[in-house]
């Protein structure tokens, strides 16, 4: 059963999400998204997921917010433009998606159910054996670094790729590249003339 505090934090999170939806002040939106992440982190603590709470608070609420604030500063954005598009189509799409998701939850195991399939089988083994096999008291660390080590390696590749992407987009050699692209395109048009 869902505890009282859980529901309070979840309701606070929905209020925050709704104010993000309504607000046009981009600085406020970014700060609210940081608050949203921080509330999520406190929710994880309530659910005994301390490692996740740690990461969410530092990476989700910290670094993401910082990156967004930096983007706001670089692009000189203050207010979101009022746009004229008809909101009915997106609302229909979102409501249909939401209805499908709610329909999907009706079959799900209840919150906190120890007999749920996801809490059986392999998990019992991890809890019983990981202390002896890996020698680390923190089960999450054992799984992250050893049992599912390839996952973590893959994660590192993803971050590496993202870093390369960001550097290519914003890195130093960019202005040189621009000139090069111009030259190439002018060469191409020259070629077409001939």
């Amino acid at each position: 059963m869902a505890g009282f505090l859980d529901v309070v934090i979840l309701v606070l999170m929905s209020v925050t999400a709704f104010s993000i939806l309504r607000s046009r002040n981009l600085f406020g939106v970014v700060i609210l998204s940081g608050i949203f992440s921080l509330l999520a982190a406190s929710f994880y603590v309530l659910l005994a997921a301390v490692d996740v709470a740690f990461t969410e608070a530092s990476v989700g609420a910290g670094i993401s917010t910082l990156l967004m604030l930096a983007t706001l500063a670089i692009t000189h954005q203050k207010k979101e433009k009022q746009h004229i598009n008809n909101p009915i189509m997106p609302i229909i799409v979102v409501l249909v998606t939401g209805a499908a998701l709610v329909y999907g939850t009706l079959d799900m195991p209840l919150y906190g159910d120890i007999n749920a399939p996801s809490n059986q089988y392999l998990i019992q083994r991890f809890i019983e054996q990981s202390g002896a096999e890996i020698g680390i008291p923190n089960i999450v660390t054992s799984i992250l670094a050893s049992y599912r080590g390839y996952d973590t390696l893959g994660e590192t590749f993803v971050i590496f790729t993202a870093a390369i992407g960001v550097l290519t987009l914003l890195g130093r050699g960019r202005t040189g590249n621009k000139a090069e692209v111009k030259q190439i395109s002018s060469l191409e048009t020259d070629g077409e003339k001939e």
Binding site: T97, Y111, I159
Partner: protein
Amino acid sequence: MNLSFEIPGLINYWIVIIFMMIGLYIVISHGNLIKKIVGLNIFQVSVFVLYISISKIDGGSAPILDETIKSYSNPLPHVLILTAIVVGVATTSLGLALIVRIREAFGTVEEDDLLKSERLDD
């Protein structure tokens, strides 16, 4: 299993679905690219909350081994979400870098204006 127990048992998932709907709506309907990224972040966090809700076991403690503790919450979703949070920041930073680049090339981060300038080019 009676209904009066079943409704509180699923309410977490339903509130999470509300977050997902808000995030999806921001991504679809708002024109400002930075706000789109914020919407994407809300969607991501709601998926994380859903996973962590699945991992909860009544009376379960944090998954750190100790002889005095009898039941732990499920550590596997925690691991998956740890990975997902970090990957989420990687995608966010890539998206923001693209926004900075778009602003340099077109002078705006509003979708409407970008579409207009594209039409002018044609």
